[in-house]
Amino acid sequence: MTPDDPHDAVVVGSGAGGAMAAWVLTKAGASVLMLEAGRDYNPDEAPMLSMAKDAPLRGVGSRDKEFGYFDATVDGGWDMPGEPYTMAEGSEFMWWRSRMLGGRTNHWARNSFRMGEYDFKPYTRDGLGVDWPVEYKDIAPWYDKTEKLVGVYGTNTGLENHPSSGPGVLQPPPKFRVWETFLKAGGDAVGIPVVPARRAILTKKIDERQACYWASGCGRGCGIGAAFQTTTSLIPWAKKTGKLTIATGAMVYEVLLDASGKASGVRYIDKATGTHKEAKGRVVIIAASTGETARILLNSKPNGRSEGLSNSSGQVGRNLMDTVGSNLSAYFPQLEGRPRYNEDGAMGLHAYIPFWDYGRVKSGEAGTPRGYHVEIGGSFGDPGMGVGGGLDGYGASLRGDVKRRYGARIGLTQRGEMIPNKNSFCEIDTNTKDKFGIPVLKFSFAWSEHELNQVKHFQKAMGELVDKLGGTFTSDMPEPGKAISKGGEIIHEVGTARMGKDAKDSVVNQYGKSWDVDNLYLTDGSVFVSKAHKNPTITIMALAMRSADNIATRLRTGEL
């Protein structure tokens, strides 16, 4: 079939949410048209194992390639020429996009932590935010199926609010490296857990995907298929069914409704020719990423209605959340001059610190209602352009210092829960259009005291840990207000079209189905009700799988 033919389903976006929906539906026998704004891509073009010295400027980030020359991002980043977004006065928001088949799954860090029982019922626990319309146990089987399909390494720790996966679901995690073992010793002494992390990386080969070969940063893309990205898994699998049609360079800007108020398809700009086209389907699924999905809904004006599509609740664009982020870096004289070996491993977390202080959260002593986890970094990695930081002098003594200090620093990165607030949202900026003529998003964003207090908790806890291990922070402890990330900076934006039990205060139901339009579904982070500290993508995929299963059933029964 071609993009001009009507399909059973039109899917907008090929990232985590879109590709999962397309795979589940094509596997169930439905024909799917996937519209992707970016270009075609697969990680055969990933520069695996290239040395930094083979890149301009030793591969450091620049305005063009913000996360470094070798980062897989195509035609994207914080700043996209010709595709701006704006910010309300007094607000700062950072929006990372990429325009390529597979979206941001081509270069995400693959950290994959399940949300737990508490995370689905935050309001019930502390009266803040809103509860999800589902419980953990409703989603648990979908997490199992998703993790099994995707391939996630990790262990079941049995810790509070860090649920276990089903038997045989997880792949074995890689061993701790020396600095992780060191950190664990300190953690054990001060009551902070340091446990195996979970990442969407194969440590055992499944199907055509190889096991991790323990080299080459995953952000460059993984050509051997070990690090999960939709371009080496869901998309090629869906193609193999013969049921998937892909149109790249297809910038969708509105959903079309028929006379009865049902979605009949979408309208897009074919970037190669600049022509406006229509794609038709029995069901329309939008997964263009949290911001972009809200933008498409708000820019669709059925019967000229100014509030946009599927927005009778007024919640589209509202409840924008990102993960709370802050960083500390500590230097440990005890790690100086340690024996060398290959510490690349899976080029990311083998261990992490899950949130542990639920008891004191409950009693109020923690000073913050919601938790965070800590992602840790150290290692004898590629020395990189930062190797000379903090050094002094010149000549022989300098060489000695470089070697002594190598591998003695550990970075501690907070990743915490944000509670939705009324000051954080996106809307259409009626004064600004992108190069295609499509009105752009305008962001408003603010943290509340809850997030700032959480940063304080993190700083204090890490202070105890670092102290126990005889380390010192490499810079003064910043004020929480200075330390906290900018909105969007952690690239976990979610929540702009939340799900709920009631059409009055939510945009979609628990299956991602629009309350207002019966055959319109959302399957990306826009449907999140809260932003637990757990990185969102594994949950996006589990929910997308559940939604697509629901859609497949409805297509089969003729309901759609």
């Binding site: 040395m51 890149a55 890689p174 070996y341 000379g388």
Partner: protein, 229 residues
């Protein structure tokens, strides 16, 4: 001293390509009379083309022209070899192409690099002037001990000579660039002991017995409990 041709063309890379034939020839930027009254003028931003949002990652090219003059490169060569001189089998900084890298860096059309360019181009001129004032000859003609005397006034955080804060800032920056450029080469990896970027099969091997024995000793020496990975 390394001859000019080597300085310009040592290409430690297999794949990275530069735009050639763009080397500027000429005098050092004249910026003041004598080291004391030297100014650090702002330089015009480089308007060349950057790498763009979708470069070919497997065939990297540096698309901007290189801008350092032969004289600037010569001073750079002496300076980076004072920062990282040869030691035993370990090559000096020029031998692994550090001056060529610094040329690439200061010629880039990006903001961060522009800031460095202002610091470095002016800093090199300052070094030369300072040498003329102190030694009667330019930096590259001065002998090593005279060169080091100048560095001793700007290279150590706690001992920067009053009034030389700007040259010290310049030195700190070029030192950092030199170290970064040097330790990202194969020679630098070997020296520092980076053993990665090497694909392996089977499970991740993890720490060697020697590395484990060492960390166990460290942990237990601190009165903490060691858990084998």
């Amino acid at each position: 001293m390394t001859d000019m041709k080597t300085l310009i063309t040592i290409d430690r890379r297999v794949t990275l390509k530069w735009l050639m034939g763009a080397m500027a020839v000429g005098q050092l930027a004249a910026c003041g009379d004598g080291a004391k009254g030297i100014s650090w003028p702002e330089l015009e931003a480089i308007k060349a083309q950057g790498v763009g949002k979708d470069p070919d990652l497997l065939n990297p090219v540096v698309p901007w022209p290189l801008t350092m003059t032969a004289a600037e490169l010569a001073i750079t060569a002496d300076l980076v070899d004072l920062i990282l001189p040869a030691e035993g089998d370990l090559p000096a900084a020029t031998k692994v192409g550090v001056p060529a890298f610094i040329n690439e860096w200061v010629s880039a059309p990006y903001e961060d690099q522009h800031k460095d360019r202002v610091l470095i181009v002016n800093g090199l001129a300052w070094l030369d002037e300072e040498s003329k004032v102190r030694n009667g000859v330019g930096f590259t003609q001065a002998d090593a001990s005279a060169q080091k005397k100048i560095l001793d006034d700007i290279a150590f955080k706690d001992k920067v000579k009053v009034g030389l804060e700007k040259p010290a800032e310049f030195f700190g920056r070029i030192r950092s660039l030199t170290l970064g450029a040097y330790y990202t080469t194969s020679e630098g990896w070997a020296e520092i002991g980076y053993m990665g970027n090497t694909p392996g099969t089977g499970d991740y091997a993890g720490p060697t017995p020697e590395a484990l024995t060492h960390i166990k000793g460290v942990i237990e020496g601190m009165g903490l409990t060691y858990t084998a990975p």
